[in-house]
Symmetry: C2
Subunit: 760 residues, 2 copies
């Protein structure tokens, strides 16, 4: 796979402007701070092909459902994160000619995303029609220290002339979602105001009535000297600007510093919104760009201190993992209970920016091992608050007695998706939400969670599964018909092994939780339910391949033409961009881990031999056209000692967007799979596991690597692991001793101490 | 089931205006002449809930596809029959108040569809706000004798006053398709013209450039006296009108006779279109309403002479069958090779008015047994002309070497449908098209057809099937994965018995045709193909229920919860309006005949016992929520002697729309299933079969009926059958003797002679 951009351990670097890569670059160089974010669109006008995107966490719009053929049960709308006020805008004009990289001749172009410091930088030189040459240097960031603040430093230097240049910093709320179903404009303007000091634009979403306020101020500098500027003001619907012309001397750097505050009713009442934005931007202006930048860089340094994974000897791997960690933290910091993790974060519109099972299946393990337990708990409670909606959702599909089906896609708990084979059938998601409760408790030991929040959710989910199974008189067993497993290249299959397995596990787990919780919760199981659940647990049907240990992905799987992914001509990859849907469906090819996803989640239920046999059966059939696929394979491959395969797939997951494997980075990045990438290092190569029996560590290292190291949190103690080709070092950075198994040996590491072991 | 309208052997009668039934009535009282047609909208203004519909056979628009989630292989557009110029309009105004049945008090209302004469009549009395009472009597028809002419007689009588009444006959091209995907307006105006004698409106479809011209003239009568009128003219975009005010004396009948011509580029060049319309309307005007009406009634009398089915002793059955025959002839007369039979005919927009497998599976047998063989041949050649497109369609899905997949829905041979489980998977349609060739040849003996048109189509279809099967190493047989059978309440199943059966049959038939055709056609099979085909024919897998003769609808069918339709609460019927789609899919309930469809088509391959066993297994699980379901069941029920069930289902099919069983008549009628209704009498009760061994007749009669009789054509000889509770009479109305089997006995009936036999 060719690299799209330069390799560097801390930076993504683009050294030549390529209009054809612009949308990919806009995604990859995106910045955000967990609260809001922005694609790497240019500050100045750009008339070429671009996907403008500015997003505020939690602010969504219910876009009227669009389908070809309505099916009973479809939701009325799809809740979408909105493209909102463009706050980066700074137009530059010389002699009536707008600066526009799609128009002027470009003599130099350098863009970099400094992941260590959280900065998006750009330097370029252009020649205007008049022959005037200009150099521009811009730096911007969304502050990790002040969650409602962004700042831009935009420096213009005339290279071969002195003369007037016009600067127009502006805010523009005339933005639409590219993916709007009916080209609807989702915003109403509440107010706008602009004076010589500041501009503010207040807008409100139609229907949902989320209000946002975006405020700006600017200062203007000749080298290090602050100039006093009396700008003009202009405004129209959804738009405010300042503008001024200034005489720039040849070779002198003139800098416009733009400060922006973005507030919303996610965090404030409607009435104080504008005032808060104005206050925040005034504070930022008063602090000044350098102070803000230092605060921001410090915040990132704090994050990296514990979150970084250091890989020595392989810069592509190093860059890849940091890229993933960087974007994860840009998307979700864990500070705000109202937010969740959209599949594209703040890097694009696709998938609506809403919550998927990705959160529980891929992101939660990351936060459980890296963040304060409160962050994971917060993600769990998010679903607890949606329980009533999940019950309503199940009722709509004909289930009863408190059965809960969590939605495939949601913003407020209501189902948004409208594709029958997914919406109604990809129900394994429900299992991931129950598993998340289990996973949280085994990581944290917080069993109190079960009474207050856990049982209601787990019981709702188990009740759903109990009704969704049906007794097959033919098989004398419980079967589950008409589902779509994690492998979405199969639809409407019977007895998907993964779904049957996690469903049975949920029912079993519900029985256990029910027995543990002594509180007289209304959700507790009745005696009849307990008996029925027990009967199901003992009698679920699982498809298997006779005379092997292979679990069949679904009934009828062996009727398929038995091919491997190597049989597909390269020109036909990815198949989802080359083959008709029916051909994909009836082929044997697997989009993402399915049976293997189950073996990953329930690893301790299966012997290594069984895992190996199934891995060898399924991996060659898997095309990894879901971003969520390779990470699971890395973890299993490492476990069974297939280190070459593990490294190959690690590179694929960690550089999926950086190298745009699936030809879709232009639409945004695969944020939720980035947590999977982290897991592929820590759980995969690092062999870190947290089970009911505690922490165990079985590290290995790919041959090309010299060493790698990372931190995890266990029982709230930070531990540092460092692995070379020869030894593993475990250091307890915390304040209490930690016990664990290292290569199967029980060890205890005191606070502040290290232990070493030879690599096996 | 409650009857919507009055029971009468020749008429549909509505005696009270009910605004809630208006859209159903508009469908049911529709009129057409095979060339164009019109829902029973009112001539005068109607401000209530209505679905305006005026359609011209073959004129369509490629409406941009609308889907929620795009799948590779979807077509760019859905070709739709268009709502076109409203030609019925006659507005009536008194003292500035428009006549409008949604506004005035209605004192009397009577609407009838005279099926014998092909007339839509309406008489009503209303009281205006001023207290003025008016009686209106309208009669209209689309001429069966002149395929581009319609006429309306609109009589107004002031009942309690004398005074001025304003008449406004008009043409209005400002009409949209209710089902337009993006609310697009599909027409461009070419020209319009109106003078005191006539008006004309010429329009053109966007993209497809079909042109239509609609011309009108009128005359005005005081009782039988022709008055000279100098009307005003008015026009605007897509609209022309005449209008005049006239003093009407109390109790005197004033009649506006409106003549309309509708021409299109289906039949004329663009350049002569307007002139033809003006000439046609002038001729109609010159002939006069009464002459046109007489011609039209005579044409219908001619149709009924051979097409009628007479049922004595059961008026509901009698009305039902005539309603079906009437609408079939209104939709398709067999005169125009460019037309086909849309599922809703000229009665609504749903399903786009395009060609489905309905034509081959349900309509063709009707025309084969009632019409000149040329009509059936014409329907076959329509598909022959689409062969190249069917090959392209298959290529798009990854098939090669001349494999042809006919579209699910089409206007010009290209696939229009966009629902993956149908578009790509409901491929059994391909089988029906090959079977139609076989059926045509066995009815007509026209084996010459095979060389010229038959082999290419059959070979393309067989090549598709040969590639669509795949070898299952597990089953050591050919399987077919990922299909949707005729029962659309299952999607993406493996080894649908019906599809496997007809697919194998197609391959087998192709081998036979290939052997028969001596011409050196490029489509002839290669030696390797012959060998491969033979191998498939001998090794196709069919799911069966062990220890029975039951053919399983698909793999896994016995895992379903084993219920019957009686287990569904009445309030939840039809399930497609009450249950979520996933629930329908995983339930056992069958929308329409599937295995039984196969037993019907290939009846001579199976013993009566096998048919009975499968009928008894499947019929109780069938909810008949497709209009195409009951007819097949009637035929099989009659064959196995279940006469009560046959009658029950006959009534359901014949009165499906009349009594609106499935709550959807407002959207239009189920035209193609009407041919199935005819088959349910002739093949079902009448026991008429035409096989390779000739004609056989095994009639039976439901207990409540006194007698029934009908005609068929066999080897182009008209035969009349009449069945009472005691005997059957077969009369040869033709000019050559006919041999057949009556109750298994070989008989020969000379021209002009009758034979009788006692009913078994």
């Amino acid at each position: 796979m060719r690299n799209l951009f330069e390799i560097d351990p801390w930076k993504i670097i683009e050294t030549k402007f390529d209009a054809n890569k612009q949308k990919q670059a806009e995604s990859i160089f995106s910045i955000g701070n967990g609260s809001f974010g922005q694609r790497a669109n240019f500050e100045e006008k750009y008339s070429g092909d671009t996907l403008q995107g500015s997003y505020i966490g939690g602010v969504y719009y219910p876009d009227k459902t669009r389908v070809g053929w309505w099916k009973n049960g479809y939701p009325e709308y799809f809740a979408k994160v909105l493209n909102s006020t463009n706050w980066i805008g700074i137009n530059i004009e010389i002699d009536g000619e707008q600066l526009d990289l799609n128009v002027q001749q470009i003599k130099y172009f350098h863009r970099e995303l400094d992941m260590q410091k959280g900065l998006l930088k750009r330097t370029f030189r252009v020649v205007f029609g008049s022959g005037k040459e200009l150099e521009v240097e811009s730096i911007r960031f969304c502050s990790m220290a002040r969650e409602e603040i962004a700042a831009i430093s935009y420096t213009v230097t005339p290279l071969n002339f002195s003369g007037n240049v016009k600067f127009t910093p502006y805010l523009d709320g005339n933005v639409s979602n590219h993916d709007a179903n009916y080209d609807e404009f989702f915003w109403l303007e509440d107010s706008r105001k602009v004076d010589i000091q500041k501009g503010i634009l207040c807008a409100r979403t139609k229907k949902t009535n989320f209000c946002i306020a975006t405020a700006m101020r600017f200062s203007f500098w000749r080298e290090q000297e602050l100039l006093t500027i009396h700008p003009n003001v202009a405004q129209r619907d959804f738009y405010v600007e300042n503008n001024f012309e200034h005489y720039l001397e040849k070779g002198v750097r003139f800098t416009l510093k733009k400060y922006v505050a973005v507030t919303s009713t996610i965090n404030h009442s409607e009435f104080e919104l504008a005032a808060k934005a104005i206050k925040r931007v005034r504070d930022a202006y008063t602090s000044g760009f350098d102070t803000l930048r230092t605060e921001h860089e410090n915040a990132w340094a704090e994050i990296w201190k514990s979150a970084d994974i250091l890989i020595e000897g392989d810069e592509a791997s190093q860059q890849g993992i940091r890229f993933n960690i960087f974007h994860l933290y840009q998307t979700y910091t864990g500070k705000n209970a109202k937010l969740n993790i959209g599949p594209k974060g703040f890097t694009g519109e696709k998938y609506g920016g809403a919550t998927y099972w990705d959160t529980e299946a891929y992101c939660l393990p990351f936060y459980l091992k890296t963040a304060d337990p409160q962050v994971a708990k917060q993600l769990l409670i998010y679903r607890y608050h949606h329980l009533d909606r999940a019950i309503e959702n199940a009722e709509k599909l004909g289930f009863k007695n408190g059965a809960a089906l969590y939605p495939m896609v949601t913003m407020n708990g209501e189902e948004c998706h409208n594709e029958w084979e997914i919406t109604f059938e990809e129900i394994h998601r429900n299992g991931a939400i129950a598993f998340a409760v289990y996973n949280y408790v085994r990581h944290t030991g917080d069993t109190a969670y079960l009474s207050e929040y856990g049982l209601p959710v787990v019981a709702g989910i188990a009740r759903f599964w109990a009704q969704r199974f049906n007794w097959s008189e033919a098989k004398k067993a419980y079967v589950m018909l008409g589902v779509t497993g994690p492998n979405e290249y199969e639809n409407n299959v019977n007895n998907n092994w993964y779904t049957n397995y996690i469903a049975r596990w949920c029912i079993q787990y519900c029985l256990e939780v029910n027995a543990q919780v002594s509180a007289a919760l209304p959700e507790k199981l009745s005696a009849k339910e307990i008996k029925d659940f027990q009967h199901i647990v003992e009698n679920v049907y699982f498809p298997v391949l006779t005379d092997t240990n292979i679990f069949l992905q679904q009934d009828g799987f062996m009727d398929k033409e038995q091919l491997t992914a190597n049989d597909i001509p390269v020109a036909e990859r990815p198949i989802n961009q080359h083959w008709s849907w029916d051909r994909i469906l009836r082929s044997i090819f697997i989009k993402q881990a399915d049976v293997l996803q189950g073996l990953y989640l329930f690893e301790d239920h299966f012997s290594e031999d069984i895992i190996r046999e199934n891995f060898d059966f399924y991996e060659p059939k898997t095309v990894h056209e879901s971003s969520l696929s390779p990470c699971v394979h890395v973890i299993l491959a490492a476990k069974i000692g297939r280190m070459d395969k593990a490294l190959e797939l690690y590179l694929r997951t960690s550089r999926l967007d950086l190298d745009d494997y699936n030809h879709e980075a232009d639409e945004g990045l695969h944020i939720t799979s980035m947590a999977g990438t982290w897991m592929s290092v820590v759980e995969g190569l690092g062999g870190v596991r947290v089970t009911e029996n505690g922490l165990s560590i079985n590290p290995s290292i790919p041959k090309p690597w010299k060493a790698y190291s990372f931190q995890i949190r266990y029982k709230n103690q930070p531990l540092a692991l460092s692995i070379t080709q020869h030894k593993v070092t475990l250091e307890n950075l915390g304040s209490a001793p930690v016990s664990c198994k290292l290569f199967g040996q029980e060890i205890s590491v005191k606070e502040g101490e290290k232990q070493e072991a030879a690599l096996k």
